[in-house]
């Protein structure tokens, strides 16, 4: 685990994942600084409610559909694929560790890295997006719905890392080029709002969206194309997503069990 954490956190190849995670924080910090400089009362241009909807939009359209998705792809698909490319996987396969345990260990290390990067990014972005409201923002956080929303966003972030992590760990084991399955999954996930109700449910984003605390209004003309499906309740969405992830991980473990070292392929 320690070896994996060190490799994943310090991977030179993974600098862009830091960029994906820290990008929104930079934007919200900038937003805070600009708004604080202009003065809250000067223009009174927007409210806390509007900022919370903007954050909800950023969370749904950036974090879930791009940042965490591609971040998880970069972290999890490389857990095995990068070892194959660097011709170092045999060191792991030559230890008396059950391959299933190796998959679990690598997945857990990837999950820790993903949650630390994107969880902290979500928390920091949320805390700073309304910081310029000063005491009102603190009040919103401590006595209003702020803390609950933050907790929900964090939970969805963790679940997104769990779900996409399992998808990409498996694709890294199955495919020589994980970009192709990633592109397929990405298109599928992004088509989700326009799919019939039944197909919507065969995706990670559907369950995650159901758990988001603030609904994002869909702008026209997309709103007429979106097919409404009943949002999945928390007690179905969370265990459902965890169950799907577990199934993918079990399949990944079975795949690792029969994986052979063939670096030349």
């Amino acid at each position: 685990m320690r070896l994996e954490l060190k490799k994943t956190f310090l991977s030179k190849r993974g600098w862009w994942i830091y960029f994906l995670a820290l990008g929104p924080v930079a934007i919200t910090v900038l937003h805070w600084l600009v708004e604080a400089r202009l003065g809250r009362g000067a223009g009174n241009r927007h409210s806390i409610g509007e900022d919370s909807i903007i954050f909800a939009g950023m969370f749904l359209f950036y974090y879930l559909r791009a940042g965490i998705f591609f971040g998880a792809m970069g972290i999890f698909s490389n857990l095995f694929r990068a070892e194959m490319l660097e011709k170092t996987l045999h060191y792991y396969f030559l230890t008396p560790l059950r391959r299933e345990l190796l998959v679990a260990g690598k997945y857990l290390a990837g999950l820790i890295v993903a949650v630390v990067l994107f969880g902290s990014s979500v928390v920091l972005a949320f805390l700073t997006i309304g910081r310029h409201f000063g005491a009102s923002w603190t009040d919103y956080l401590l006595h209003g719905p702020g803390l609950h929303q933050l907790g929900a966003y964090f939970l969805v972030t963790v679940l997104a890392c769990v779900g996409y992590g399992a998808v990409f760990l498996l694709s890294g084991l199955l495919f020589k080029n994980p970009m192709i399955p990633a592109a397929v999954v990405w298109v599928w996930e992004n088509l989700n709002p326009f799919l019939p109700s039944l197909l919507k449910k065969i995706s990670v984003i559907f369950y995650l969206k159901s758990l988001c605390p603030v609904e994002v209004p869909i702008p026209p003309p997309f709103n007429v194309m979106v097919v409404d499906a009943d949002p999945t309740p928390f007690w179905v969405a969370t265990p459902g997503l965890l169950a799907i992830s577990l199934i993918l991980l079990v399949y990944a473990a079975a795949t690792a069990r029969t994986t052979e070292i063939s670096y030349s392929d």
Partner: protein, 317 residues
């Protein structure tokens, strides 16, 4: 076939195909303790054989047993086997010490034990001074040695070494060979692949000659040589009157060739019947008082056997 023998590495009718490409075909072998060398040109199946012993690849058909353990059970197998692969690749960002220590942790040893074993292994290959340097900054020879240290740090009974002498300078090479010898003498199975034939010759208790996925010969090199009947044996006789000996030999049918060596104090001959030659030599000594300093086979080394069985193309690799 003693497939269940707990002191052997055994292959029973093992074949491995990569799609339609042959890796190894119908190999049946038993490898006893000691140093066994795998010899063959590139693509002859040496690495395939080694990877199968370590469970890194599976046979398409047949059965392998490593001291009674199937390679399909890595949890048991990897405690028995240490593998120094040919790949010059290492997990990034690790020092030599961390490289060995990290993988020892996966064997379930306590941290203090990992530390002790890491130091011991690094000491054995002479890398203690460079333990805290990044592996990426090591020379080729040092990387080869740290791989060797990593392969033996958990004290395996079976040590598989794929081209372990590559990149080593002559001194390090001699030290490595001494280590192999030491492990072999301890009763370990040391399986070495090498293309440096004269070194293979020096260190091996037995050899396995491979060509295009087939085992061409196996056993002690001298026995293998004597099995190669179609190639006349070369014998070097150091004596005071090589011309006299040559004149007597030319009358014999089994002698194919005889030539006096450069210093005129020896005769190199090729015979199809070594036993008849030795009888004749005794007769010549008795009849003419020939003084013989030494009589020795000149082509029962790996290189010669390899050339006879596999050909010059293979020997050049």
């Amino acid at each position: 076939m003693s497939g269940h023998n707990n002191s052997l590495i055994s292959f029973e009718n093992v074949s491995r195909f990569y799609g339609e490409v042959l890796g190894i075909n119908n190999v049946t072998l038993s490898i006893p303790p000691g140093i066994t060398s795998l010899v063959g040109p590139n693509g002859s199946g040496k690495t395939t054989l080694m990877n199968m012993v370590c469970g890194l690849i599976r046979p398409t058909q047949g059965r392998i047993s490593v001291l009674g353990v199937s390679p399909q059970h890595p949890e048991k197998l990897c405690r028995l086997v240490g593998y120094c692969a040919q790949f010059d690749a290492f997990p990034k960002g690790l020092t030599g010490y961390q490289f060995i220590y990290s993988f020892l942790m996966m064997f379930g040893f306590l941290p203090a034990e990992c530390d002790r074993r890491t130091r011991e292994a690094l000491g054995l290959v002479g890398l203690m001074d460079a333990a805290n340097r990044h592996v990426a900054a090591y020379s080729k020879g040092m990387r080869q040695r740290v791989k060797l240290a990593q392969a033996i740090a958990h004290d395996p009974r079976v040590i598989i070494l794929d081209e372990p002498l590559n990149g080593l300078d002559p001194l390090a090479r001699a030290e490595a060979i001494a280590l192999f010898r030491q492990w072999g003498d301890k009763g370990c199975h040391v399986v070495v692949s090498s293309h440096i034939l004269h070194e293979v010759d020096r260190i091996s208790d037995q050899v396995i000659l491979l060509s295009q996925g087939y085992v061409v010969a196996e056993g002690q090199i001298h026995s293998v040589r004597s099995e190669v009947k179609e190639q006349p044996m070369q014998i070097l006789v150091r004596c005071d009157r090589p011309a006299l000996l040559a004149s007597r030999l030319f009358a014999q049918d089994h002698v194919v060739e005889a030539k006096i060596v450069a210093d005129s104090k020896g005769l190199l001959l090729r015979t199809r019947d070594a036993d008849s030659f030795y009888l004749l030599l005794n007769r010549v000594i008795l009849d003419s008082g020939l003084e013989v300093e030494s009589v020795a086979p000149a082509d029962d080394d790996v290189n010669s056997v390899y050339q006879y069985l596999i050909g010059a193309e293979g020997a050049a690799q």
